[in-house]
């Protein structure tokens, strides 16, 4: 028997070629009560790219991700995913349409093992009904095993085999972040939103995480949007960067250009890096 080949490419044949627009945010404004979290922001994410969103704390970056995957519904503006404008979308509908994400402070299922956490990412792809589940042996088990195989590929990919059976609650933070990435990958998303994937990591862990992000992007062709504070990471990984400050977009472009932008330096970087 041969080792199964890695095959996690997002399966959708959506007719969007690499480099075409996958998601666009047009003139989005989001308010909570009297507070405006996002004000008239527009940008796009192209298929196959790594798009970074940077900005000071409280600039509305996380709110932006929440808008994209349906936690918040903006008062104004249009979001198009794969060319379709969408109205109030629920998070689980966003997931079904191919958007996965990770959270700034890790939102894992703490009572479950690494394996089960990543298995949970396969929920959408499993469809055996209640009756078969009740008796397990048979179709339900076959389905379970089929997905276990895919999950094991992700575990192998992320090099977390040694914590497969451990409850995630007790894992060190860096590994939790990796498990969370694994869970998001299990959805086989077209668009992966990463909210500060490297926060609280040391260099070695950042290097690992960078490698995973690059591999996900290159091997599976997954489009990635990430919020990150480490400018080294942003410079090296991102194809394009959008900069938010107090809910407004202040810059958008190639990493080098953004880094040299005086507004960005004033609002975010402090000293030119």
């Amino acid at each position: 028997m041969n080792a199964p080949a890695m095959n996690l490419q997002s399966g959708r044949d959506d007719g969007i070629a690499v480099g075409e627009e996958l998601l666009s945010v047009s003139n989005v404004t989001l308010r909570f009560g009297g507070v405006t979290a996002i004000q008239d922001v527009s940008f796009d994410i192209l298929k196959g790219e790594i798009r970074a969103i940077i900005g000071p704390n409280g600039a509305g970056k996380t709110s932006m991700l929440n808008v994209i995957n349906g936690f918040y519904h903006p008062q104004e503006g249009i979001i198009r995913f794969r060319g379709e404008a969408r109205s109030r979308m629920k998070p689980y509908e966003a997931a079904a349409s191919g958007i996965a994400r990770t959270f700034q402070n890790v939102a894992l299922f703490t009572g479950m093992s690494t394996l089960d956490n990543i298995m949970s990412g396969r929920s959408l792809k499993m469809n055996k009904n209640f009756l078969t589940q009740m008796f397990y042996y048979g179709p339900a088990r076959d389905e379970e095993i089929e997905h276990r195989r895919r999950v094991e590929e992700i575990i192998d990919f992320l090099e977390i085999a040694h914590i497969r059976r451990q409850p995630v609650g007790k894992l060190p933070y860096g590994l939790q972040k990796r498990v969370e990435l694994g869970r998001a990958l299990a959805l086989e998303p077209d668009l992966l939103l990463l909210d500060e994937p490297m926060a609280g990591m040391n260099l070695e862990e950042k290097e690992d995480m960078s490698r995973f992000i690059i591999d996900v992007n290159q091997q599976f062709g997954t489009t990635i949007a990430l919020i990150e504070h480490d400018m080294g990471v942003v410079m090296d990984l991102a194809d394009r960067v959008v900069v938010l400050d107090y809910g407004k977009k202040i810059a958008d472009g190639q990493p080098a250009d953004v880094q040299a932008n005086q507004d960005v330096i004033d609002a975010y970087l402090g000293v030119p890096h």
Binding site: F71, K90, P91, A94, A95, A107, F109, T110, Q133
Partner: protein, 358 residues
């Protein structure tokens, strides 16, 4: 010590995903089942009637509540009432369709409980935690009220109680006064084993995972494509089904007759204690919790006799209440995660033996 896992390796996922992947666990389970089967051979009727039967029935109810609370994270105080729904519907079914086998009625009665459970589960979509517990408490009171105020439910009896008719299975009486404790015990044992098996199947599959996802982090669950409505209501339904069957068993195969007090808030709390003491999110815990909560009072009451003290009944009762209360508090301080966790630690220690840790 007993665990000798060297050489037990898995070459396929089927074996790796088994509920008991370790040989020694399978042997242990087998032994327990054999012992359970032998109880009537060696045990007295008192043991069977006063302990084994109610223990199994309450273990089943605990599994029901544990599915909802331990696995899906939705606190409920309406267990007693859901058991009542099972009991009353079984009673109605048995009187309306007297020719259908009583076992089928018992299994069907769970569906009525499931339906009612779903209705009272609806608020869980909006409210959580303690607030949800209060709505289930409302369910408890409302249903209790129904059991009293809707005489149709108890066939307009003067006593207001439901009484179990005699029914047979393959010619052997299994309900009613003529049914021997041994027969009732075996029937219950078979049902409990079967239903526990089904519960364990559900829990380890997609559905069980969706419950746990909701329990652990509902926003992340939604992002994985879980619809909260489906997950929560299915947990309420399955949970209530188990409670309903347990309620029907309680009346039909143990008490023989019941009125509304049998399903009071006290029962809800008793089952909740079993789940907490046994361990949230553990099926084995349900059995251990039921054995502890149900067995301890019996033990405390029997103990003075065994040691030769003569004490009047009310003193024994008072002492036993105090002792049980103290024991529960003590236990929860020492091991807040219940027997299941304790067992897990012991097992881990045994697996690591002779080393102190792995």
């Amino acid at each position: 010590m007993f665990y000798r896992e060297a050489g037990q390796f898995k070459t396929n996922y089927k074996a790796d995903q088994a509920i008991f992947p370790i040989l020694q666990d399978r042997v242990g389970l087998g032994l327990i089942i054999v012992v359970a089967l032998l109880v009537p051979v060696f045990g007295s009727d008192f043991l069977i009637n006063s302990f084994m039967i109610p223990f199994l029935i309450f273990a089943l109810a605990s599994i029901g509540l544990n599915i909802l609370t331990g696995y899906c994270g939705q606190l409920s105080l309406g267990t007693g009432a859901f058991m009542g729904v099972g009991a009353y519907s079984c009673y109605k079914l048995a009187t309306i369709f007297p020719d259908v086998n009583i076992l089928i009625h018992i299994l069907l009665s769970g569906f009525f409980a499931a339906g009612i459970g779903c209705i009272f589960g609806l608020p869980s979509l909006r409210i959580k935690g303690l607030y949800l517990a209060i709505t289930t408490l409302a369910a408890q009171f409302f249903l209790e009220w129904c059991f009293i105020r809707i005489p149709w439910l108890y066939n307009y009896n003067d006593s207001g109680a439901i009484e179990v008719p005699q029914r047979t299975l393959a010619g052997v009486p299994i309900t009613g006064p003529a049914a021997t404790p041994e027969v009732r015990y075996y029937v219950i044992l078979a049902l409990v084993i079967g239903l526990t098996w089904i519960a364990s199947n559900l829990i380890r599959g997609r559905i069980g995972r969706s419950w746990m996802m909701i329990r652990d982090m509902d926003i992340a669950a939604e992002l994985m494509g879980i619809k909260p409505l489906n997950a929560k209501l299915s947990a309420f339904a399955v949970s209530s089904y188990f409670c309903g069957v347990a309620g029907a068993l309680m009346v039909f195969m143990w008490l023989g007759a019941a009125e509304v007090e049998s399903f009071s808030i006290n029962v809800s709390f008793q089952v909740l204690f079993m789940v907490i003491i046994g361990g949230m999110g553990s099926l084995i815990g349900c059995f251990m919790g039921a054995a502890f909560i149900f067995g301890l009072p019996i033990f405390v009451r029997v103990l003075p006799d065994m040691m030769g003290f003569a004490m009047n009944a009310s003193t024994v009762d008072h002492i036993s209440r105090m002792v049980i209360g103290a024991l529960i508090i003590f236990f929860l301080i020492v091991e807040p995660h219940g027997f299941a966790r304790l067992w897990q630690i012991v097992k881990e220690k045994l697996r690591n033996w002779p080393f102190p840790y792995g």
